[in-house]
C-alpha cells in the first residue's frame, strides 16, 4: 500500500487536473508546444488606442471576445475556460458539482472606463459631470448589472455557481503572488482534512488603459515596444521592465488518498508551500534579500526537502532590473554555488507577466515540465548580465531529468510565495 501521508503526517496533496490560458493560446497542449518552441505571446495592443503610451505592447488574450470590454468580464471568462479544462482532466464530481472549496486569485475589481462612460452618457448632461451626476442616474435598475459585475466577489460567485464548489468561495489577492497563494490555501485545507479536493484558480484579464498607465507611472513596464516579442528579457543585461499579460490557470488538488481511491491519474504533487512578507517598501524588496530567502527556505522546510534536491527553478523572472537582481540574491543565498548550475527559467519571457494569475499559470507549466522532462527556455536572452550568472536555459528548451521544481512568486506589497512541485511523493 502506498503511503498517503507525508513525513510530517499530513495528507499528501496531489494535482489531478490542470487548465491554462495565456497569450500563447488556450489549453495545456497549445501552450506547452509554443512555450517549448520559445514563442512569444507579446504583441502590440489593438484592444484600445495606445496614443501617448510609453508601453504599447502586452500579452493580451484577444481570442476571447468581451464586448463592451471589462477586465473583470475577461477574467471571469478565462477563469471559466481553465476551470473547465482542469475539471475535465480530473474527471471529478459531476457537472456543476465540484466536491470541494474554491480558492480564486483575482485582480482587484472596480468599475471600469467603458462602463463609467456609459453612465455619464445616460446622465445626458453636457457639462459639470461629477460623481453626483453619476449617482443621480445610477439607480432605478438601469445599471443593476454593474453591481453584480463590479463586486470583488463577483468572479468567484460566478465560478462557484457554475462549477458547484462547496462552501464559501475565497477570492484573494497577494498581488503577483496571488496564484501561488490560491494553491497554498487549497493545500492547507486538504492537509487540515477539511476537504478531499480543492479547486484553485487564478485569472487576470487586466490589460486596459488605466491598468497599463498605472504600472507605467510606477516605471515598472518595459518600453521595448518594437518588436514586441523581444520585449521581455528576464535576467538579461538589457532587461528594462515587465510586460503586462493576461492569463489564467486552474488546478484540481486532491488528497492522494482520495485521488487514489477514485482511480484518478496523478499529475504531480504539491510538496511544499512557503510564504514570508517583506516590510521594507511598497514596491521594492528588502535589499538584504532576507524575506525572499526566508520564503524559499520556508517552502523547502514545508516540503521536507533540501535545496540540493531541487533540480529546476521556475523563476518569478519578471524582467524588471530590480526583481531579477533580488531573485538571484535570494536563490544564490539559499542554493550557494549550485545557483550557477541549476536551470532557472522564466515563462514570463514568453507569456508576459500574468499578474494575479502568474503563480498558477507557472505552477501548471512547472507540472508540465515534470511530465515532459523538458525545461522551457528563457527567451530574448541575448546579452547575459554578469551580475546574474544563472543558467537561464537560454532561448532553447532543454530535455532534463526533473524530479522537483521550485516555483517562485513575488509581488508588490511585500508578497513572497514559493511552491515546490514534484512528480512523486517525497
Amino acid at each position: 500500500m502506498t503511503a498517503t501521508r507525508d513525513k510530517f503526517g499530513r495528507p499528501i496533496v496531489v494535482v489531478t487536473g490542470m487548465g491554462v490560458a495565456t497569450s500563447l493560446g488556450a489549453g495545456k497542449e497549445d501552450n506547452w508546444a509554443k512555450l517549448t518552441a520559445g514563442e512569444s505571446g507579446i504583441r502590440t495592443i489593438t484592444r484600445f488606442p495606445v496614443d501617448g503610451m510609453k508601453t504599447t505592447m502586452a500579452g493580451t488574450i484577444d481570442f476571447v471576445p468581451v464586448e463592451p470590454f471589462s477586465s473583470t468580464d475577461l477574467s471571469e471568462k478565462l477563469g471559466e475556460m481553465v476551470t473547465e479544462e482542469a475539471i475535465a482532466q480530473a474527471n471529478i464530481g459531476s457537472k456543476g458539482d465540484f466536491p470541494g472549496p474554491l480558492f480564486l486569485a483575482v485582480a482587484p475589481v472596480e468599475v471600469e472606463w467603458p462602463q463609467r462612460q456609459l453612465i455619464a452618457k445616460a446622465a445626458g448632461a453636457n457639462s459639470d459631470i461629477n460623481y453626483d451626476t453619476l449617482l443621480r442616474v445610477a439607480g432605478g435598475g438601469q445599471f443593476v448589472q454593474y453591481h453584480r459585475r463590479f463586486l470583488f466577489g463577483s468572479v468567484a460567485d460566478h465560478l462557484a455557481d457554475t462549477f458547484g464548489t462547496k462552501g464559501s468561495p475565497i477570492s484573494l489577492s497577494t498581488a503577483c503572488a496571488s496564484g501561488a497563494t490560491a494553491i497554498q490555501l487549497g493545500v492547507e485545507a486538504i492537509r487540515r482534512g477539511e476537504a478531499d479536493a480543492a479547486l484553485c484558480v487564478a485569472t487576470d484579464g487586466s490589460v486596459n488603459p488605466e491598468a497599463l498607465i498605472r504600472f507605467s507611472l510606477l516605471s515598472a513596464l518595459s518600453t521595448h515596444n518594437d518588436p514586441p516579442e523581444k520585449a521581455v528579457r528576464p535576467f538579461a543585461k538589457n532587461r528594462d521592465g515587465f510586460v503586462m499579460a493576461e492569463g489564467a490557470g486552474a488546478l484540481v488538488l486532491e488528497s492522494l488518498e482520495a485521488a487514489t481511491a477514485r482511480g484518478a491519474k496523478i499529475l504531480g504533487i504539491v510538496a511544499g508551500c512557503g510564504e514570508l512578507a517583506d516590510s521594507f517598501h511598497r514596491t521594492r524588496s528588502s535589499p538584504d534579500g532576507k524575506p525572499i530567502i526566508g520564503c524559499v527556505n520556508n517552502a523547502l522546510v514545508d516540503a521536507g526537502l533540501t535545496s540540493d534536491q531541487i533540480d529546476y527553478i521556475n523563476a518569478h523572472g519578471t524582467g524588471t532590473p530590480e526583481n531579477d537582481k533580488m531573485e538571484y540574491l535570494g536563490i544564490s543565498s539559499v542554493f550557494g554555488e549550485r545557483a550557477k548550475e541549476i536551470p532557472v527559467s522564466s515563462n514570463k519571457s514568453m507569456v508576459g507577466h500574468t499578474l494575479s494569475a502568474a503563480g498558477a499559470v507557472e505552477a501548471v507549466f512547472s507540472l508540465l515540465t515534470l511530465a515532459h522532462q523538458r525545461i522551457p527556455p528563457t527567451i530574448n536572452y541575448d546579452v547575459p548580465d554578469p551580475a546574474i550568472p544563472f543558467d537561464v536555459v537560454p532561448n532553447t528548451a532543454r530535455d532534463a531529468r526533473v524530479t522537483a521544481v521550485m516555483s517562485n512568486s513575488f509581488g508588490f506589497g511585500g508578497q513572497n510565495a514559493s511552491l515546490i512541485l514534484t512528480g512523486e511523493p517525497v
Binding site: 499530513r10 496614443d51 468599475v111 459631470i129 439607480g139 462552501g167 489577492s173 504600472f215 512578507a277 520556508n298
Partner: protein
C-alpha cells in the same frame, strides 16, 4: 510560518487577545463601550445627501502611523486599517515585539480601488460626452493620475502597509469579496491555529464609507439608505444600508502561545463557519443560517451580534431566522456603525470580545422591539454576517471561565 508539525487530532484552543477598533463611534475599547452604552450613533445625513453615511470619528493617525510619509502613501481606507491594526497589536501587547511579529500571520479582508474623483470627473467632462477622440482617455490618465495612487488602490496594500508600519511579516494574505471576505479571514485564521498550522494571527479589515465611488457601486441596485436614518430592523419600507467607516482588527492566538507570553485573553474564538447560498429562491438564506447555527455548537441562549445590513430581501430572511432566538439579546451593528462590508464581521467579533471582557451585553438600539434588554454576563455570543448580496457566516465567541 512553515507548517512542519504533524496535524493535531484535537483542535487547538484559540483566544482573542487583542482588539483594535476605529469607527464612527471613536477609537479603542473604552470609547466604544461608552458610546454603545449611551446609545450614541454617528450619522451624516447631509454630506452625501440624499445618501446617509456613518463618518469616521476623528483619529490621530500619528499615534499609530508615526511617519507622515507612510500616511501620504495611503488613501483613507488604508490609513484607517493600519491604524486599527496598530490598536489591536497594542491591545494584545505585541506591538514592537519583533520576535512575535515576524512570525505572526496576517489575513486582511479588503476592498480597494479608492478613486481620484477629480481626475475621473475631469475625464468625463473632457470626454465629449461619449464622443471622445481616441487617446484622450490615455492623455488625461497619463497627465493626471498620481503615480502612487495605484498603491493606495491595490487591495493587498492594506496588508502591505501593516507590514511596513507595524512589522507583521509572518505571512500576508488579502481576501476580497465584500462581507464574506471578513468572515473567511477569521475562519481561515482560526482553522490554521486550531490545526497547529499557525500560532498567532492578525486579522481584520477596514472600510471608508465616505466615498462617492463606493456609493455609486451600491446605487446600481439602489442599496444606499436615503433621506432618513432608521435602525436596520425598521427599514422594510426604505430598505438599504448607510455606508460606514471603520477599521476592525483582532489578534487571535493559541492558548498555549498566549499563556507562554503571559497574555490575558479577552475571549475564546470557538468556531467560525461560512457558506454561500445561491439565493435563487426565497428562504435560502434563512435555511443556511439555521444550518450554520447547528454547525457552530452554540447554546440556544447565546446572545447575537449581527451585521444585518438593512438590504432586502436578505434582512427579512435573517429576521425570519432570528425569530427562533427571540428571547436572547440581539444587537445589530448596522444600526450603530452603518454597513462596513468586509469590516462588518471583524467588527462584530471585536464587539463580542469586548462585551465578554466587560461581562455585559451593551443595550439595545432598535425601535421595532427585535432587540431586547438583557442583563447578566454573556457567556456565549454568536456573530452573524449575512452579506447584502452573497455570503453567510457565523462565529462563536465565548467567555473563558
Amino acid at each position: 510560518m512553515a507548517e512542519t508539525r504533524p496535524m493535531t487530532s484535537e483542535p487547538v484552543e484559540a483566544w482573542i487577545t487583542g482588539i483594535g477598533l476605529a469607527t464612527s463611534l471613536g477609537e479603542g475599547p473604552d470609547a466604544h463601550w461608552d458610546a454603545l452604552n449611551n446609545k450614541r450613533i454617528n450619522v451624516d445625513e447631509t454630506g452625501f445627501a440624499p445618501n446617509i453615511v456613518h463618518p469616521l470619528a476623528p483619529v490621530s493617525y500619528d499615534a499609530q502611523i508615526p511617519k507622515k510619509g507612510d500616511q501620504r502613501q495611503m488613501e483613507a481606507w488604508q490609513r484607517i486599517g493600519t491604524y486599527a491594526a496598530g490598536l489591536a497589536l497594542d491591545s494584545a501587547g505585541v506591538k514592537g515585539n519583533k520576535d512575535i511579529l515576524s512570525k505572526m500571520d496576517m489575513i486582511v479582508a479588503a476592498g480597494g480601488g479608492e478613486r481620484d474623483l477629480a481626475v475621473d470627473s475631469g475625464i468625463l467632462n473632457s470626454d465629449g460626452y461619449g464622443a471622445a477622440t481616441p487617446g484622450l482617455l490615455n492623455e488625461k490618465l497619463l497627465n493626471d493620475l498620481r503615480p502612487t495612487l495605484f498603491l493606495a488602490q491595490l487591495s493587498n496594500l492594506l496588508a502591505g502597509n501593516i507590514a511596513i508600519v507595524h512589522g507583521v511579516t509572518g505571512s500576508s494574505r488579502t481576501f476580497m469579496g465584500e462581507e464574506a471576505a471578513g468572515v473567511d479571514a477569521a475562519r481561515i485564521a482560526l482553522a490554521r491555529i486550531a490545526s497547529g498550522q499557525s500560532d498567532i494571527a492578525l486579522i481584520g479589515a477596514a472600510h471608508n464609507g465616505e466615498r462617492k465611488d463606493l456609493l455609486l457601486l451600491y446605487e446600481f441596485d439602489d442599496f444606499n439608505l436615503k433621506n432618513k436614518f432608521e435602525t436596520v430592523w425598521a427599514r422594510e419600507n426604505n430598505s438599504g444600508f448607510a455606508l460606514g467607516s471603520a477599521g476592525a482588527f483582532l489578534v487571535i492566538e493559541s492558548k498555549a502561545h498566549a499563556e507562554a507570553r503571559g497574555a490575558k485573553p479577552l475571549a475564546r474564538l470557538k468556531s467560525v463557519v461560512a457558506d454561500h447560498a445561491r439565493r435563487k429562491t426565497p428562504g435560502e438564506v434563512t435555511t443556511v443560517l439555521q444550518k450554520l447555527w447547528s454547525q457552530l455548537g452554540a447554546k440556544n441562549d447565546a446572545a447575537i451580534i449581527t451585521g444585518a445590513t438593512g438590504a432586502e430581501p436578505v434582512t427579512s430572511e435573517e429576521r425570519a431566522f432570528l425569530k427562533d432566538h427571540a428571547d436572547v439579546a440581539i444587537r445589530g451593528t448596522g444600526t450603530l456603525f452603518g454597513h462596513t462590508l468586509e469590516t462588518q464581521f471583524p467588527l462584530g467579533l471585536g464587539l463580542a470580545a469586548l462585551a465578554i471582557s466587560r461581562g455585559a451585553m451593551f443595550p439595545p438600539n432598535d425601535s421595532t422591539g427585535l432587540e431586547i434588554e438583557k442583563s447578566g454576563k454573556p457567556t456565549q455570543i454568536v456573530v452573524i454576517g449575512a452579506g447584502h448580496w452573497r455570503g453567510e457566516g457565523m462565529a462563536l465567541v465565548e467567555a473563558i471561565s
